[in-house]
Structures are given as C-alpha cells and as structure tokens.
C-alpha cells in the first residue's frame, strides 16, 4: 500500500440521481465490479485521486530503498547481503511499474517526482524512521512489508485495472520479502546471542507503532474514505485493515518470543480480535507533515541523487538524439 490520507477533493459522495449520465454509467460499471481502463471515461476527481494514491505508493517504494540502503553495505553474511540486494532491486522495480500505471492516467513521472522533492507529495510515513540495527532489516520486511501486504491484497480488487494488476504482481514479491524478513528475526532469536536478541526486540519496539500508523488515520478522522470506497479505489476501511494486520501479526510475534510495546494489547474473546492501545496520532501527523526523524534526510538524499544525475540523463538524451540523427542521415 504505502498510501495514507489520499485527498479525493470531494466533500460529499453523490447519489446516482445527482450524477450526470456519464458519471452514472461510470459508477454503475464500478458497482458491477468491472475494471476501469485507461481509455474509459472517468470523473476528474477519480483520476486525480488515483494519481495521488499510485504516485504515493511509487514514491514509497523508492524512498523505502533508503533505510535498507543504510544496511546493504553492512549485511552480515553473503546470503543476507544477496537477499537484501534482491529485495531492494524488487522495490526499484515496483516503483517503475507503479509510475507506469500512474502514467496511464495522463500523469508524468518526472512531474510527480518533482512534487515529491518539493514536499508537495507524500510517501509512507514509515520510511521517515531510521534503521538502527541489523534486526531492522528483518523487522522492516516482516512488519512494514506485512502491513503493506494487508492493504495490497485488498487493492488487488481496486477498481482501476492497471493499478489492480500492478498490485497482483507486487503482492507476490512482497509476500516473499515478508517471509524473508521474519526468517531474519527468527534466526536471530533462535540461534543468536543475547545482543542479537536485544536487537530484535529493540527493532520491534521502535517499528511497531509506526507500522500500525501505515494504515492511516482512524475511520472517524478519514474524511476522504467514503468517496474512495464508493469508487472502490479503497475496499476496506483503515481501522479494519489495521485490525486485520494486528490479528495476524500477534501470533507471529509470540512465536518469535518477543513482545509489542503496547501494554493494552490483548485478545478480546468477545470481539474475536486483539484489543490494542491508543496510537499517538500527534506523532503520525507530525511525521506526515515533515517533522519525523528522517524526513529531511530522505528528501534531501532523493533530491541530491536526481540533481547529481542531471548531467548523466542529459548526456543519455543527447547521445540518443545524435544517434537518431546519424540514422536518419544514413
């Protein structure tokens, strides 16, 4: 997923009677679970919402490479290094794939990246936290990719065809990353020394709450959800997804032999779900607004990569043009 608080620009969901004939045909198509394809008519707000959501998702894949890049040069074994490198490569691939899906809506990759660098576009808040020990590479795979999958599994049924198909492909790879991440932690807990076990618990303590925040604000504070749900861009509410993630993650946490930094986390027999404590929403909004631990560094790094690479891209374009010229002359 990696999309939080996506603006729809719509104050209220229209009823079918209020819609123009085009809008009504569009909504009926969605209600019938027929995918919207690039050449179909769609309301501008639907298009813009999707561009925002898919670009957020793509930006997240790219910014998400940075916390892992922090450890890829320090991976402890050849196997772990190769795994992490392959994961990072997958993420770059997801980014490219998602930008392509976004471009089917008429958006431009470079323009959207410019918005990111100008602080006008979001990416998942989770990547604004630092990775401080090797267990973070396990915890990011298990919790962060795990949270992403919970959302993306549902998004496989999202109404926009290219986005839905991207999700199907991406989900397969994310599931693999999640298992790999969990296995990193399990190895450290089962075969590691005390220092390694402490790393695992430390990583979980730091990443637990930020992972829960990945699902976005609670439903009561999610003003854009109703429209996104009606368009079937979103298919489940933030709180339902968060609950699903917690319910499936707690048994895995216990199997690891670790704890969550939440004294209120306990099974509720009556609800058939885990109860959990209050999320620090102030922190969530702070991080989203740019005041998280690594926001400045992440954007500065991405901007520098693009700025430093400008002459390289210009050279590639110039070379291609010269070749074309030669071919035309021949």
């Amino acid at each position: 997923m990696y999309a939080q608080l996506v603006e729809t620009g719509v104050k209220r969901v229209k009823s079918l009677e209020e819609m123009s004939p085009e809008e009504r045909a569009f909504q009926e198509r969605i209600d019938a679970e027929i995918k919207i394809e690039p050449k179909n008519w769609m309301p501008d707000a639907y298009r813009q919402t999707l561009i925002r959501q898919i670009s957020q998702h793509a930006h997240s894949e790219i910014v998400g490479m940075l916390p892992e890049g922090n450890w890829v040069t320090r991976a402890p074994t050849l196997k772990r290094k190769l795994q992490l490198m392959a994961k990072i490569q997958d993420e770059a691939g997801h980014g490219m794939y998602l930008y392509s899906a976004m471009e089917t809506l008429g958006a431009d990759r470079d323009e959207e990246i410019d918005k990111l660098h100008a602080g006008k576009a979001k990416y998942s808040s989770i990547f604004n936290y630092p990775t401080l020990n090797w267990a973070d590479m396990g915890a990011v795979g298990w919790l962060v990719d795990g949270a992403a999958i919970v959302n993306q599994v549902v998004l496989q049924r999202t109404s926009y065809g290219p986005y839905s198909r991207a999700m199907i492909r991406i989900c397969k790879e994310e599931s693999f990353h999640q298992r790999q991440g969990y296995e990193i932690l399990l190895t450290m807990m089962r075969h590691g020394n005390q220092a390694q076990k402490d790393m695992v618990q430390d990583a979980i303590n730091r990443l637990w709450w930020p992972s829960l925040m990945m699902f976005g604000p609670s439903d009561a504070d999610s003003p854009n959800s109703a429209q996104s749900m009606s368009w079937k861009i979103k298919r489940m509410s933030n709180d339902d997804l968060r609950q699903r993630f917690i319910d499936q993650t707690v048994p895995q946490l216990e199997f690891l032999g670790c704890t969550a930094p939440d004294p209120d986390l306990k099974w509720n027999e009556e609800r058939g779900h885990y109860d959990f404590g209050q999320i620090n929403w102030q922190e969530f909004y702070d991080v989203l607004k740019g005041n998280g631990p690594c926001n400045r560094e992440r954007i500065a790094t991405r901007r520098k990569a693009l700025d430093d690479g400008k002459w390289v891209r210009e050279a590639a374009v110039a070379h291609a043009a010269k070749r074309q010229q030669k071919q035309n002359a021949a």
Partner: protein, 254 residues
C-alpha cells in the same frame, strides 16, 4: 600438488575478492543513482558479482579446509589478505568514474571468465560458464554508458575523460600476471594473463574508439600490488563498513 593447491586458493581468492569488492562499491549507489532504471541495473550487476564471489569463496573454503567458510573469508580477513585488484576498491566518484571503473573491469572480467570456461578444473569451468553470461551483459551495459557519456554532452565528455585519466593508472595492476597465475595457466587451470590483457586492449580500443576517446599509454607500475595485498588506503575503510557485524559480534549466527 600442495603447491598447486596453494596457488589455486590464491587464484580463487583473487577472483572472489574482485567480484566482492566491486559488488560492495555498487551497493553504495543504492538510492543515489541518476535514474530509477540505473538503480535497477546497478543492483542487478552487484547481485551477479556478489553471487559469483560466493561461488569462488565457497570453493576456496573447501580447499582451505581450515574451518573457515565463505562468510568468514569475506567478512573476517583483513585488508592485507585481500587479493582484489586496486581498480575495484576505488571510490565510486561521479557516474563517469563508476562507469569507467566498471567498463575497465568488465572487459577484463569477461575475457578472464571466457578463458576459465575451458579450465581443466571443472568447478572453475562451471562457475565461469555461469559468470560469462552475466559478465557479457555487464560489459555491454558499461560499454554503452562509456559511449553515452563520451559522446553525449560536452560536460559528460569532459567527465569521462577525467575519469579515464583518474583510473587508468590502476589498469597495470588489473592486467599484470604473476608466477602463481603463470603456473596455473600452464597447467590449464587459470586464464593466461597476457592473452587476457591483449583481448582487454582490443575491447578498450574498440569502445573508446567508437566515441573518439583516446586510449592512454599502458600504465606504469606504481609500487602497489593487489595480488600481494598491497592496496590503496580506500580498501581498509570499505572493509570496516562491510565487515562491521562479523567483527563486532564474532562467531554470531545471522
């Protein structure tokens, strides 16, 4: 036979360390590449190289039979024990330096691996056969980038010329053979250094020639030797980062 075995271990470590250190430098590009497509490509090349390094280390570890496995060889030897060529340990610099570094290495690497596919040592021949496919792509890719940057804009050409000027002095170390390689080559196990050097020269002349990049005179010996563990100061810092966890938590399982 014992001599032969020691020679073989030395030679395997050279192949392993070359791929490993080159791969490590490419990992440093993660998140910093000039385009998303290049992020993918650089990590892809790095994956191939670290994968090859693992194959060579595993074979070396088996021959050593002193209790060290591939990870111990990669992550606990000190810089004087590393056998990689000086070129691959050089800092990444700008994209022209990285491109020139990769191209000069890839040309040597492909010709070396091609020769090794005919090695009388079947294990070497098998590892090389897999590596040739990868190195063929590596050389095609880095060669195309030399052309792009050498031909693209005035700035890119100047940067490419500066990168070649900066790195050329390490090509002597890259191409030089020694008595160990000579003995193994005569036994039909290793690549012949002179033959690889000649093939390398032809490849460099062809690619540089395509965009009128001058091919410098052969570089002269400058008193360091990667094969003997006499490195530039850059390697120690690279290893300090790469080996951090194995050094800080000796013997731990990851």
């Amino acid at each position: 036979m014992t001599d032969n075995k020691n020679d073989l271990i030395e030679y395997l470590l050279r192949l392993a360390d070359n791929a490993m250190i080159n791969g490590q430098r490419l990992c440093e590009w993660c998140g910093h590449a000039p385009a998303l497509e290049e992020e993918m490509a650089l990590m892809n090349v790095a994956l191939d190289l670290v994968g090859q390094a693992r194959n060579w280390y595993e074979y070396a570890a088996e021959l050593l039979a002193d209790g060290r496995d591939a990870d111990r060889l990669a992550f606990t030897r000190d810089e004087r024990d590393f056998r990689n060529t000086l070129l691959v340990e050089q800092p990444n610099g700008d994209y022209a330096v990285t491109t020139a570094k990769l191209f000069l290495f890839d040309a040597w690497h492909l010709h070396t691996l091609q020769a090794l596919t005919a090695s009388k040592d079947e294990r070497i021949a098998a590892i090389a056969a897999k590596g040739v496919k990868e190195a063929t792509y590596h050389l095609r890719r880095s060669g195309e980038w030399v052309e792009r940057l050498g031909d693209g804009t005035e700035e890119s050409r100047q940067r490419m010329l500066a990168a070649i000027d900066e790195l050329w002095r390490f090509t002597g170390d890259l191409l030089a053979g020694d008595a160990i390689q000579q003995r193994l080559a005569e036994a039909g196990i290793a690549a012949d250094a002179a033959a690889v050097a000649a093939a390398w020269q032809a490849t460099v002349e062809q690619v540089f020639g395509a965009t009128n990049l001058p091919v410098p005179q052969p570089s002269s010996y400058f008193y360091l030797d990667g094969k003997k563990g006499l490195h530039t100061e850059h390697l120690g810092i690279l290893l300090a980062e790469m080996q951090f966890l194995q050094r800080a938590y000796p013997g731990a399982t990851w």
